[in-house]
Amino acid sequence: MAPHPFGQVAIVGVYNTAQARRLPGHDSTSIALAGALGALADAGIAASDVDGVVGPAAAEIAMELGLGPCTRRPSALGIPALLDAAALITTGQCDVVLVAAGGAGIHMDPSSTAPWTRPANELVVGYGLFTAAEFALMARRHMILYGTTSEQMATVAATIRTNGHVNPAAVYYDRGPFAVEDILASRMVADPFHLLDCATTSEGGCAIVLVRAERAGDSPAPLWILGGASDAFGPAYAVAPVWDFRPRADADPAGRVGGRAARRAFAMAGLAPADVDVAELYDPFSFEVIRQLETFGFCDEGEGGPFVEDGNIAPGGRLPVTTDGGTMSFSHPGINAQQLQRVVRAAEQLRGTCPTNQVDGAEVALCSNGGAGALFCDVAILGRERP
């Protein structure tokens, strides 16, 4: 049997900086650097051992930490950055790779939504589109096709926000608990999304350290990438987000973006959805979690609403989801860190070190990024056992 493509790569350090509505004195690079130092300390690895940096601030970090000459990859987003970092090791380009991301000092105008949520592309800008509306257009189509309800979406929001409510590290710690009625009673933003169906905005950084497997023995709890892949249909927020858009007759529709990625990731891992102990799903809007549960195969197409209504995603349920509070409550610091934070939390779950909502004995964690409203979706499956 061929060796596993990621069998030579271990995750040995993960770290979140403090997360807050504002982190005065920081910009995106300095908070990413703070994340990088934290992850290196967590890994017990000296900065001088790092020979690759991945992330939007990769070049700046290489200079600030004096890592040169080293490899730098400006790959922006969380899971693709993780997989790019792993590939740098498996292809022999690097031995110790730092993935870092952060956001601070970006969202300074409270009269508008966060800048990263409102790109001004030609065919959407005049209609007042922004991420909530783009994702709402996908959610509406799902409601028409499958009868998905606002209550089912609110169940997702209430579950994840309550996960953040009990997490002292969350920006919105101690703001709950939340019931379905609380979500539905919040003001409407972009129908069907109420305010509490949507991500928050905040500032913060995070980082991950990966090493060649020979060095994993120095780590008390190395973790492994069991599978990973990415799907995209085109640029985000540039064209109408059409659920039924299929570039080719045999392609999945855009509403099922991430399906191919999940199938590849599970095949690489030799696992099935039933083997996943905890799912750190990216939660920009409540509906997206319902969609991902279907698309990744945790339930049948159109069954995501009933699946969440039956309590499956709650702590102690069949598949606890987004256990730190996600972008709705834990943190949402710009497009890069917020995606990588799903990987960080998945790693914390597998280490068994989550102070809140730890899933007992978690062996396999799935994490995701993106969503249908943005026409991309990434999947990674992490585990405790070396593949």
Partner: protein, 140 residues
């Protein structure tokens, strides 16, 4: 009663890209144009130079009759910036020619919006240079 209306001038407006100039010129003439591949008939989600269906490089502009059905919509109550007047209803419509496009529905109440609602294009100025196509309920 809240009737959905076009946005008044002052909103952020599109900067026409080189391949979509004909589309925006058509809007100024109150003509709704879309691109179709002359080789295979494929129509995409926006102007293209290579056909995603057959890789031919000969798209041509065609004029839509302006009739459509409502495919998906949202009603925005918290806009991305104060430039927009709420409520408004961004929508995906499917032209009778089989093309999906991004627009917004006007001329009805938010509660009137429903799947497959029959719509007709209307043009409204958004700035001195830009005219935006909107869709209103078709009159029987």
């Amino acid at each position: 009663m809240t009737i959905l209306r076009p946005q008044p001038p002052g909103i952020p407006t599109p900067r026409p890209s080189v391949h979509a100039e004909a589309y925006w010129e058509g809007c100024r003439r109150h003509e709704l144009l879309y691109q179709r591949c002359t080789a295979c008939g494929h129509a995409g989600l926006r102007a293209f130079t290579v056909c995603a269906g057959c890789l031919a490089t000969t798209p041509a502009w065609e004029r839509s009759a302006g009739s459509a059905t409502l495919y998906s919509w949202t009603v925005v109550w918290r806009p991305p910036s104060p430039a927009f007047t709420v409520p408004y209803a961004p929508a995906i419509v499917r032209l009778d020619e089989g093309v999906w496009m991004m627009s917004a529905v006007i001329g009805c109440e938010p509660d009137d919006l429903h799947d497959a609602m029959a719509l007709t294009v209307e043009f409204h100025p958004a700035s001195a240079d830009i005219v935006l196509p909107y869709f209103a309920p078709s009159r029987p």
